[in-house]
């Protein structure tokens, strides 16, 4: 086969790809199809027959210039691997006690499991769906304005939260904003905690920050959080005398925060 078989015109690609999707969702579906078509015993798959048919199908797809998803190719090599394993004589080995597992076992389990979900998907398709079979009957009373003074139940999903953040990011230019990293989120936990400690007490002894730490990583992360807070000018580190305890205080005292907080969110 020529290497350029994979490259088709983009419009062709679209339609061809769809043809393929309608046929087989993935390698597991293709294998189940081949097993059923040939009335094979799924618990004792004749691996060379199924491998040959599978590869023929892929070859056909290539000849038709259809894009083949990576998973189909991974499965092809899995099949070939199983096939070669079955050809090997099973030598009694010192390491493996008891029976060695049939090389096909995992594939068979996956096929059986996949069949279950295919059936379950079919069931979902057939049960009554709202908006297709049954329709909801809700009365909208526009004259009721939502009151502000009552405790509200907040209904929002995590996914909506991150999508909101993504939409903000998509609006701003790259240089305005640098990529958020996982570390900065876990750092946020530490920073959040240290600042809460400082709201409870005016100052805390340096080592008090580490009392809840169990691992080296925790200690390091907390230490980095302290440094980060210093850098951001959110706290001060004080040592009254050489070798004395180190104390940490908020860069700006809490009572000042409170007076400001009272009149909302102004800075002065």
């Amino acid at each position: 086969m020529k290497g350029e078989a994979a490259i088709t015109e983009s419009s062709d690609f679209e339609t061809n790809y769809k043809v393929k999707l309608e046929k087989f969702e993935g390698p597991l579906e293709l294998l189940l199809h081949l097993i059923k078509k040939n009335e094979l015993d799924i618990y004792d798959i004749p691996i060379s027959i199924i491998t040959n048919q599978y590869l023929q199908y892929i070859k056909l797809m290539k000849e038709l210039n259809l894009e083949i998803a990576g998973e189909f190719l991974v499965m092809a090599s899995t099949l070939l691997q199983i096939k070669s394993q079955m050809l090997l004589p099973t030598l009694p080995s010192e390491d493996t006690v008891g029976e060695e597992e049939d090389p096909r076992a995992e594939l068979i389990r996956r096929l059986l499991e996949y069949q279950k979900y295919k059936d379950a998907a079919n069931m979902l398709e057939n049960i009554d769906q709202t908006g297709r079979d049954l329709f909801s009957c809700r009365l909208v009373e526009p004259e009721f304005e939502i009151s502000q003074d009552v405790e509200e139940i907040i209904e929002v999903e995590l996914f909506e939260l991150i999508e909101a953040f993504r939409s903000v990011l998509s609006r701003i230019t790259k240089e305005k904003f640098h990529e958020i990293k996982t570390e900065s989120i876990s750092m946020a936990d530490r920073i959040n905690r240290i600042l809460s400690l400082l709201q409870e007490k005016e100052s805390i002894r340096f080592d008090e920050i580490f009392t809840a730490d169990h691992t080296r990583e925790d200690v390091i992360a907390n230490f980095l959080a302290v440094l980060e807070l210093c850098k951001r000018k959110m706290l001060k580190i004080i040592q009254w005398a050489l070798f004395a305890d180190i104390w940490i205080t908020a860069a700006v005292r809490e009572d000042q925060i409170d007076t400001v907080a009272k009149d909302g969110i102004s800075y002065v």
């Binding site: 969702e25 996956r110 009957c137």
Partner: protein, 188 residues
């Protein structure tokens, strides 16, 4: 006879989400739980009549009115809904999440045998699937589950309302697949 029945009726009609007994008890604090229960039962009976276009359904552990199935074709003329709503990959992924939740994306892909990122994203956008949190294993993958909207869409009282995989297989008459235990997912 108290006036609780019409109150419950009005409340269920106005509520956006299926209204639970708990919620009804909160709102109608001056009534007893049993009174509210029996009002719901009365309403259910009132509507449970072929001469009615709608009925009181128990969905997502709450109550909501739905049009009767007999009139779905007529209602579709109004809503211009063509019928088919979910693609095969979407249904397959939903089924896997419904039956195996909490589940991670690699686990879904192991079961389906194909990349499922795109489908998962669509299901999240449609609110049928939700992020439950992260799994406490190396890499901390996101775990997914079905949402209340899933129950509302498939008119289910709760997840137990789904037939078991075994029951489905009996219906589908695929006896060769009968005695497989759940596939363990740790090994991928």
């Amino acid at each position: 006879m108290s006036d609780i029945k019409p109150m419950v009726e009005a409340l269920i009609f106005v509520s956006e989400a299926p209204l639970t007994i708990e919620r009804l008890c909160d709102i109608l604090a001056e009534y007893k739980r049993e009174e509210i229960r029996s009002a719901i039962n009365d309403l259910k009976n009132d509507y449970n009549n072929i001469e009615r276009g709608i009925f009181l359904a128990e969905i997502a552990e709450g109550f909501q009115f739905r049009t009767r199935k007999e009139y779905s074709e007529i209602v579709r003329r109004l809503t211009k809904n063509t019928g088919a709503r979910f693609s095969k990959p979407a249904l397959e992924t939903l089924a896997i999440i419904a039956y195996r939740q909490p589940i991670t994306r690699p686990e879904i892909e192991y079961l389906r045998g194909v990349d499922s990122g795109g489908v998962l994203k669509t299901l999240l956008e449609k609110n049928l699937v939700r992020i439950l949190g992260k799994k406490n294993i190396p890499g901390k993958p996101i775990i997914y589950g079905t949402s209340r909207k899933f129950l509302e869409t498939f008119n289910l009282r709760d997840l137990k309302g789904l037939p078991t995989l075994k029951e489905i297989q009996e219906l589908e008459e695929t006896p060769i697949f009968e005695k497989q235990n759940e596939l363990p997912l740790q090994n991928n």
